[in-house]
Structures are given as structure tokens and as C-alpha cells.
């Protein structure tokens, strides 16, 4: 047995680098190919230009929307709603999840409710919340909150429950009191699940915000602008907004959550415990 898993040998590393380079190459090639096919179909005139604009048209529209500030305003509105609802979900979901895992009565009370509410798609509540809270920010934020809370709660609950009892024993033997046990062992021990929960709930929140903006339309937001553009057959506006939606989702997934993972559970070698 080697004393340290120092990583792959030099030859192996070279091979991996080559594979990575290859995959970037092919990825670029396949995306270019997809774009070329799209452009070809768009220019063939089989479809009306309004429905299938060429890529330069989309790019020009995108540029115009950036310049007149409307795209930025839509994005800011959407981000505001999603982050507000998502933060609220974390503030509520994580503590409740912890309480459920630590206290039997809380678990007994919450679990049936969570199991009953979780399978209700958040969009089913949009019409109801529109009646109650009107059209606009509040309804959208509440929908985002609803969509994001349950994965947060559920993952935190199972994370705290699955903290290795050996860690608790070891910490107890080293004189950790309840409070230290909680902050120094249970929270980091449950972190793979909590981070998975944060990730999942952001994905849910992101879907929810786009859908809620479409249904409970106000007059700003990326979801709203897509739906609105349909009425006027502005496929170029739709595609531009779609690109922004895709990019923001990607940025959050890769940059925000990716770096959180790299700084914590990846560094600690705890990834496998949470991904099943």
C-alpha cells in the first residue's frame, strides 16, 4: 500500500491532459456544428424569419437590448426575485431541517407535511398566489421560496441524520459539549448534503422564477420578456433572453456552487457521501 495517494503518475497525467484537451476540442466542434445547422435552416427560408431568425439577427437584437438597458433591467429583476426567494428558503429550510433531525417531535410534525407538500409542483400554486398576493414581485418570490425550501429542508434533515456516529463519539470523548458538537462536528459532517440541498434548491428556484414570471406576469423579468415576445412573434428577443437565462444558470452552477464545493467537500474528500 502506498503511503500517500499523491495522484496520478506523470505519464498518466499527460494522458488525462490530452483527454481533457480532446474533450474541449470536440465540445467546441459540436457546438459550432449545431450553430451551423441552425443557421443553415434559418437561411433556407423554410420558416418565416420572424420565427427563426439568423444568428446575426439574434446577436444584433441582443446587443440592442444590452445597449438600451432593457436586458440588464430584466436580468436584475429576475435575479432579485430568485435570490430573495432562494435566500429565504435557506434561512427557513436549513434550520427547520436541523431541528427535524435533532428533535423527534419536530420530525414527527414536519415530515408528513413535507412529504405531502413536496410533490405539489410549485407552478400549481401560482394561480392561487396570484389571487392572494396579486401580480408581481411578491407572488414570484413566494413561488421561488416554495420551490426552493423543500429540497433545502429535506437534504439538511438527511444530512444531519447521516452524520457518522463515530465522529460524535470521538468528539464527545475529546470533551466537546453540545454546542461545540453542533458547530464543529454536525454542521461540517452534514455539509455534503447541505451543499447538495443548496444546489438542488437553486435549480428549482431558477426554474420557478422563469415559470412564475411567465404566468404571473408583471412587466419585467427574463421569463416575462420571453412570454411577452411570443405574442409579437419576436423570436430574436426570445432567443436572446434564453441565452441570458442559460448563462446565468451556468454561472451559478459552475462558478458559485462549483467553487463552494471545491473549497469544502471536494477538498475534504466527502463528495461521494452525498451523491447517490
Amino acid at each position: 500500500m502506498t503511503d500517500v495517494a499523491a495522484g496520478a503518475g506523470a505519464a498518466q497525467r499527460k494522458e488525462i491532459n490530452a483527454a481533457v484537451a480532446r474533450s474541449y476540442w470536440r465540445a467546441a466542434a459540436s457546438i459550432v456544428l449545431a450553430l451551423v445547422i441552425y443557421e443553415g435552416v434559418a437561411r433556407s427560408g423554410e420558416f418565416p424569419v420572424a420565427l427563426m431568425p439568423t444568428i446575426p439577427t439574434v446577436a444584433a437584437t441582443f446587443y440592442d437590448m444590452l445597449l438600451d438597458g432593457s436586458m440588464i433591467k430584466h436580468t436584475v429583476f429576475t435575479l432579485y426575485r430568485v435570490l430573495f426567494g432562494f435566500s429565504l428558503a435557506m434561512v427557513v429550510g436549513i434550520p427547520i431541517g436541523i431541528l427535524m433531525a435533532r428533535f423527534r417531535p419536530v420530525e414527527n410534525f414536519m415530515l408528513p407535511l413535507v412529504s405531502a407538500l413536496m410533490p405539489i409542483p410549485s407552478f400549481a400554486l401560482v394561480p392561487l398566489f396570484m389571487l392572494w398576493f396579486g401580480i408581481g414581485n411578491l407572488t414570484t418570490i413566494i413561488i421561488v421560496f416554495y420551490a426552493a425550501t423543500f429540497p433545502m429542508m429535506f437534504n439538511t434533515w438527511s444530512g444531519v441524520r447521516s452524520v457518522n456516529p463515530l465522529w460524535l463519539r470521538a468528539a464527545g470523548a475529546m470533551g466537546a459539549d453540545e454546542q461545540k458538537l453542533f458547530w464543529k462536528v454536525i454542521i461540517p459532517g452534514a455539509s455534503p448534503f447541505i451543499i447538495t440541498g443548496v444546489r438542488q434548491s437553486f435549480i428549482r428556484a431558477w426554474i420557478a422564477v422563469v415559470g412564475a414570471e411567465m404566468i404571473a406576469a408583471s412587466s419585467w423579468g427574463l421569463g416575462w420578456v420571453i412570454f411577452d415576445a411570443k405574442e409579437f412573434l419576436n423570436a430574436d428577443i426570445m432567443l436572446s433572453s434564453l441565452v441570458v437565462i442559460g448563462m446565468i444558470g451556468f454561472l451559478f452552477e459552475r462558478l458559485v456552487f462549483g467553487s463552494i464545493e471545491r473549497a469544502t467537500i471536494l477538498k475534504w474528500g466527502m463528495v461521494r457521501t452525498a451523491r447517490n
Binding site: L166, A170, A173, G175, K180, W268, G269, M270
Partner: protein
């Protein structure tokens, strides 16, 4: 005065199938700095007994005294090492794991890191102070666990088959290292194992236990000079004697309940 006194300790579980006597009136004593091995077949209650000593389980009868004071729950007078590598906190480096107990005691950061580094030096891991557990091999992880249990200077070290999950070669290394650590620190050690050679190599005295119910069957003093030679005739004699005791313990389970 005896450092550890175990008097008539029992643990009875209630199960749907009736009562199970995991430990039945176990008694033994240890002098300070003595190395005691608990040996027995699986189900003889040796690990249960260790867990009672560590304070993780409450005995249903009997008493344990350490340094003259009755044991009640967990305490920092005892350090514990488990068999499972997963006992280390994966979110802390080797050094961070070793400092944990000192941190709980409220020792200032610089001081505790210095102490921890010394402990890591003792188990020959000072170079890996900043490595996370998942980068360490099983043997190294167990060495960190030993350093961690020693760092806050408990008088007693409780070890539950710490090397059982290691391969044979690494295990030999670990036993040598532990013998050295023990010689330097002079801790009182209770060490649970089912490996007879390991017990003869490490222990001053071996307590053999028999299962169903878990009882102390026999005590054997290992009167051999250290460092011990596992191939010497005397060593093999002890091994034979213990194996015989164990064979009897396994073959003749006394009448149930």
C-alpha cells in the same frame, strides 16, 4: 493504588427474544502505565466493555473507577481510538484533527498547534500535518487517530481493534510504533483485539473473555522483555496458551441465561 478498577460490570440488553447478557460481571484492575489487552471471540463483549469504559454505554450494574473516581459518562481522562478509519473528521487536516481535543479544552491556537505537531512527530507524521484524511492511507489515518487521542493528555488510552482493518505488513509496523509510543508516553492502555499475536506483542497482561454471556475467563501475565521477538520460543508459547484459552472459550459457551 490501582489506576483503573472495573468491578462487577454488567450490561444487559432487552430484545424481543429476551435478555442478552453482553457483559456479565466483569472485573479486573490496571496499574498506572500498564498495557492490558482484552482478547476474545466475537460476541464476547470486549468491545462493549470498552465502550462502557469510554462512557458511550451505561452499564446496567457494577462500577468503574479511574484514578479513584467513579466513571460517569465521557471524560477527558480517557482517549479513544476506534477501528474505523472514518473516525477522523474529513473536514479537518491531520493537524486540525489532533488539535480538536485541545480546542475543546480552550487551549490557545498557537499552543495547541505546537502540541499537536509534537504528537504527530511521535507517530512520525509531522510531514503530513496539513494533509486531509482522505489523502492519507489507512495506516496513516490510524496514526493520526492515535495522536489525536493522546494530544489532550488523557491518562488512559482506550483502543478498539485499531489495526484490525489494516493489511498484515502495515499492522506489524503499527504495532511496533504503538509499542514505542507507549514506552515514551507511559499511558495506561486498554486494547481490544481478537488477534492473539498482537496481544502477546503489546500487552503486560491479557484478559481472555468468553461469549454468551460475556465473561472474564482468564488473566494471563505476559512476562517477556521488550522489545519482543514474535519468533522466540517464549513468545510462541504464550501465543499457544492464549489460543488454547480462546479455543475453550469458543467451544464451550456456558449455558445460555
Amino acid at each position: 493504588m490501582q489506576e483503573i478498577e472495573v468491578t462487577d460490570v454488567s450490561l444487559v440488553y432487552d430484545t424481543p427474544a429476551g435478555q442478552v447478557h453482553a457483559v456479565d460481571h466483569a472485573s479486573f484492575e490496571l496499574k498506572a502505565s500498564e498495557f492490558l489487552c482484552l482478547v476474545g471471540p466475537s460476541g464476547c463483549g470486549k468491545s462493549t466493555l470498552l465502550n462502557i469504559l469510554a462512557g458511550f454505554l451505561k452499564p446496567s450494574g457494577g462500577e468503574i473507577k479511574i484514578g479513584g473516581k467513579p466513571v460517569n459518562g465521557q471524560g477527558m481522562d480517557r482517549g479513544v481510538v476506534f477501528q474505523d478509519f472514518a473516525q477522523l473528521f474529513p473536514w479537518r487536516t491531520a493537524l486540525g484533527n489532533v488539535t480538536f481535543g485541545l480546542e475543546m479544552k480552550g487551549v490557545p491556537k498557537e499552543e495547541r498547534e505546537q502540541i499537536a505537531l509534537e504528537q504527530l512527530k511521535l507517530v512520525k507524521l509531522e510531514k503530513f500535518a496539513n494533509a486531509y484524511p482522505h489523502h492519507l492511507s489507512g495506516g496513516m489515518q490510524q496514526r493520526v487517530a492515535i495522536a489525536r487521542a493522546l494530544a489532550y493528555n488523557p491518562s488512559v488510552l482506550l483502543m478498539d481493534e485499531p489495526f484490525a482493518a489494516l493489511d498484515a505488513l502495515t499492522r506489524d509496523d503499527m504495532q511496533r510504533l504503538l509499542a514505542e509510543v507507549w514506552r515514551e508516553t507511559r499511558k495506561t492502555v486498554i486494547y481490544v483485539t481478537h488477534n492473539v499475536a498482537e496481544a502477546v506483542y503489546l500487552a503486560d497482561r491479557v484478559v481472555v473473555m468468553s461469549p454468551h454471556p460475556g465473561r472474564v475467563k482468564k488473566e494471563v501475565v505476559i512476562d517477556l522483555p521488550r522489545p519482543r521477538d514474535p519468533l522466540s520460543v517464549a513468545f510462541l508459547e504464550y501465543q499457544k496458551q492464549l489460543l488454547q484459552e480462546l479455543g475453550e472459550a469458543t467451544a464451550k459457551p456456558s449455558a445460555r441465561q
